[in-house]
Symmetry: C2
Subunit: 597 residues, 2 copies
């Protein structure tokens, strides 16, 4: 049975030392988030994840969800109770506004909890996760009445939420979507159509399900400019908030998936279901983007989460499994063989995962804090710059953290040899579950195009220039710090490669956009490496300082520094080959005739 221990200590290192949240005491909700309070909250959350969610992970994988003859869906044994415990603990509303029953704490804490939750049980964590995204969309774009009707119930967790975008013939290209909305004449619309891949579309955990649905109002323009967003509850809500009759939306079937079996992935049939417009007519994509950006960050978190839990289990195995002897002679001569963690290739593999995990977590916490600033600061310039950061980093976090999160789950599985392939050990599930994160909320190729085609040039490149300036300034400021020399020089080199790649796009992709398309994925990964390298440099600086101060943390800070040096030596060199691929351009890629593939 796989184990999991939430990395609270590593998070506290980030929140107390690397990006001290105390600095943001002026923001609403932050003053309450004192270090002690944060540690206590995360400790409670960790307990919930470790004790309630983790043991249900394999059960969920084995049982899956079942659609009953009446169209209802039964989730795996224990899921309902676990979800209720989560809701009862107030976790749904941790960062939600107090006026709707939330606690108004920094959303950074919710992001951290998403990591714990997803590591413990990815499929189960999706039910609250999607609800939070749907709630965010309603908070931003819903009418006062919609907010009053739905948000308090979603914050308390009595109702859950979904997002309905994909249709059988369209996923990425939402302009093709066909689901229809016909005005009923009473302010509501009759929604008809089929949506697929709807996570948590139907289940037995909540009293009601609040579907946010993209549809086309009769007579709306073709393409993406004719799409509107609707709220469609499973049960209609009566005046006063009690539940009325069943709406015309139902689960037609469940998908048979490679993983996340505990999540009910539904085909949803809308058959004249009653829905209400959210936000402006034909501006549905705009409204949905609030939810999608939230969801994309959460999916990036999922990438890290599977890497982390797979790592923890691989380390435990590598310390126990006796096989062979260290190359330099027996390390445990009293045992029949050494534990495999003595072998350099095993250590290299484990360290490559660890070095990613800690950098990815830093990148997420940094970005989540920017999200809090973007939403809560009263300073226009600060808000804008935080918003720039979010826009730029969202595709990087989603694309890079899920690609590498999956790779790392595979690497961790490899540590188990043949046992890794056997389902009982649980490593296969981490791999199968992690796989979806590269696909949903915009496949990673789309993230790369979002970064290169949209985010780079936005506002004259303001966001990317700010990032380059910040990293460059950090390198300059610390160029003479001998204790950081293993960090600054590779970071500078990586930044140089990223800047060259950016320049190459500016010179070669304006006239020939295929040059951007063919280099986009390499660029996204190059960007991710530099962003994580920057996180390591910042963590190393803090680790050096804490080491000097003592307080009994020297060993841990040494481990931090070693892990960071590993990242710099072993992961950063890839920036050079990414640059080479990008600057080879699109000619060969585009020249191949379609029939020759």
């Amino acid at each position: 049975m796989p184990v999991y221990k939430a990395p609270v200590e590593d998070v506290m290192f980030l929140l107390n030392d690397v990006f001290p949240i105390e600095r943001y005491n002026n923001l609403p909700g932050f003053a309450e988030a004192t270090p002690d309070m944060v540690e206590a909250i995360l400790g409670e959350g960790a307990k919930l994840c470790e004790e309630i969610f983790t043991p249900l992970n394999r059960i969920g994988d084995l049982e899956g969800c079942v659609r009953n003859a009446d169209g209802s869906v039964t989730t795996p044994k224990g899921f309902k109770e676990a979800y209720e415990a989560y809701a009862a603990g107030g976790w749904m509303g941790l960062s939600m506004p107090e006026e709707y029953g939330g606690q108004g704490l920094p959303s950074t804490l919710t992001v951290v909890m998403q990591e714990f939750l997803s590591s413990a049980n990815l499929a189960l964590g999706m039910y609250p996760g999607l609800t939070q995204g749907a709630t965010a969309a309603l908070l931003v774009h819903g009418s006062a009445e919609q907010k009053k009707t739905y948000v308090p119930k979603m914050v308390e967790g009595t109702w859950t939420g979904t997002m309905n975008l994909t249709e059988p013939h369209c996923g990425t290209d939402l302009g093709l979507l066909k689901t229809k909305a016909v005005p009923n004449g009473d302010g509501s619309y009759a929604i008809s159509g089929t949506k697929i891949f709807i996570s948590a579309g139907e289940h037995d955990m909540a009293e009601n399900i609040v579907h946010l649905v993209l549809a086309r109002i009769e007579g709306a323009p073709a393409g993406t400019k004719g799409i509107s967003l609707f709220v469609v509850p499973k049960f209609l809500v009566k005046e006063g908030g009690s539940l009325g009759e069943r709406n015309g939306v139902s689960c037609g079937s469940l998908e048979h998936k490679m993983g996340i079996h505990g999540n009910a992935t539904c085909v949803m049939n809308y058959d004249g279901a009653k829905g209400w417009l959210v936000g402006e007519e034909n501006r549905g994509l705009n409204a949905m983007f609030v939810m999608m950006n939230e969801a994309r960050l959460a999916v990036g978190v999922q990438g890290l989460s599977q890497s982390e839990v797979a790592y923890q289990n691989a380390v435990a195995y590598a310390k126990e499994r006796l096989q062979g002897r260290a190359l330099t002679g027996p390390k445990f001569p009293d045992k029949p063989a050494d534990p495999i963690i003595v072998h350099p290739d095993v250590r290299r593999t484990l360290l490559s995962i660890k070095a990613f995990n800690e950098a990815a977590r830093a990148l997420l916490v940094w970005t989540a804090l920017k999200s809090d600033i973007a939403h809560r600061s009263s300073d226009d310039a600060e808000r804008q710059s935080a918003d720039d950061h979010m826009g730029l980093m969202t595709p990087v976090v989603k694309g890079v953290l899920t690609d590498l999160g999956f790779d790392n789950a595979v690497k961790a599985q490899q540590m188990f040899g043949g046992h890794g392939y056997i389902e009982e050990w649980g490593m296969s599930q981490f791999v199968r579950d992690a796989r979806i994160a590269m696909i949903y909320e915009g496949a990673n190729g789309i993230q790369a195009m979002d970064l290169v085609g949209r985010k780079l040039g936005k506002d004259g490149g303001r966001a990317v220039m700010a990032f380059f300036n910040e990293v460059g300034a950090f390198c300059q400021e610390n160029a003479n710090d001998e204790s950081l020399k293993d960090f600054i020089s590779p970071l500078q080199q990586g930044l140089g490669h990223l800047q060259q790649a950016t320049m190459w796009f500016m010179q070669n992709a304006m006239a020939k956009p295929d040059n951007a398309g063919a280099g986009a994925t390499d660029y996204m990964h190059l960007f991710g490496l530099v962003a994580m390298g920057y996180m390591w440099a910042r963590m190393a600086k803090v680790a050096n300082e804490k080491k000097v101060k003592g307080n009994g943390v020297a060993d841990k800070m040494d481990a931090k520094l070693l892990t960071g040096r590993f990242f710099m030596e072993r992961l950063m060199p890839e920036t050079a080959s990414r640059l080479a691929c990008i600057s080879s351009g699109a000619d060969v890629t585009m020249a191949m005739p379609m029939e020759m593939f």
Copy 2:
């Protein structure tokens, strides 16, 4: 339902043009293998794979194998008949000696057929595959009587074979194995112990199963020097060859695996089973290595096989799925959207798989031909150099082709977006099936250590120097060929990186073996890139020549050249980062205290 078309034409390009087998007419069995004959044989084999094996692939995944209450195992519907068709077609004996009922044709053809078979149905292909490995071990190390008793039945496919190495507490480190062999006094031994992960250990396809089992004779030395190999038939064989009583070996349970569900992966219980020594006492590992080397090449083939079939399905989908418009404007304005194959990132992904597949196939055919030379040539020097090549390339082929084969199956799955995650589309199965190839027959980290720790230095580095000389000479000879400039220069650079890495090991790993261990996996991949780059350079040279000759193949040769240029531009740059990782050494990797992981 996934499709598959065996790449006969690409194989014929290799066998007729790149490594013309006509050149080897002096070897036994090769004179019969005329180009027309080879094409006819492979055409028949392709048909069998496409029409019989492919349609059973998903059925095998869904049904899996079932162990019945009496310990017998039922394979998925249709497997038995498909296997019988394969055996009846004489495919088991394609390259086996004529005196045992085989056809004596080049074993290269068997390797090619293994690719087709594994693409069509990896799990089903394992039953004949393992039998061929067991037959090879008996042919080399078995007594005359053992060969007479077992080999003809295995060649005709009436009996199948297995290899039994792994035990619950030992896989890689066979020195720990506990299975016991006690002399019965009549020349036979009583074998007792538990073996795990035994592929095709029990099933309903054959009349008898011939287990090759590693065990320790009572009183034998500890460690690997006390291990002997035994042949243990499921049913004892009477004088004259008919089947006698059931032997004391049975399937205790089947493993629940991530993939290859159609393969019966058994826990085998040996309870005083009657076995006979194969080869010399305490030299069992040596005898088993014949089988293991054969099996490692076959597993490399499996890596390619899943990459190829996943690619074919991804291409078909990318040509059909309409989503978005080309960056340079609609390519199919009459359709609601363009097929996704117009998008540069989709083409880049598909080409990266195609460029690997064709290079990997060339590497396998080249290596298989060396195997034929090593086994059939009467020229000592030629045999030795072919054997050197085999030893050097076996870990590269196994490790690199399975790592990249899996990565490519994942990439191909990604082309399907959300549909790729749904089991009905079949892409998940390719990923899950491909995953095992990185693990079994020596996990890929072990392959890397075999390459770096054993093969590099063997015979004073004779094998690796011969490889460097061959590639270097090719580069020099073609340095002024303008039509090869896109190939020679990156190949030279890659070779330079490989030579530097080799030199670095010579200077740094003698005194500190951890430096070899920490760089082994990077080195294996660096080696694989250079070997595949060399294959591309050779194919490009031939493609240029064929293009000049005309004969209506110019378009196909252009496609070959484009694919090769893609490899050089987009895959070869990685050699630089691999070198950087290797030469960063082991210090950081080894410095981390065990408790800090």
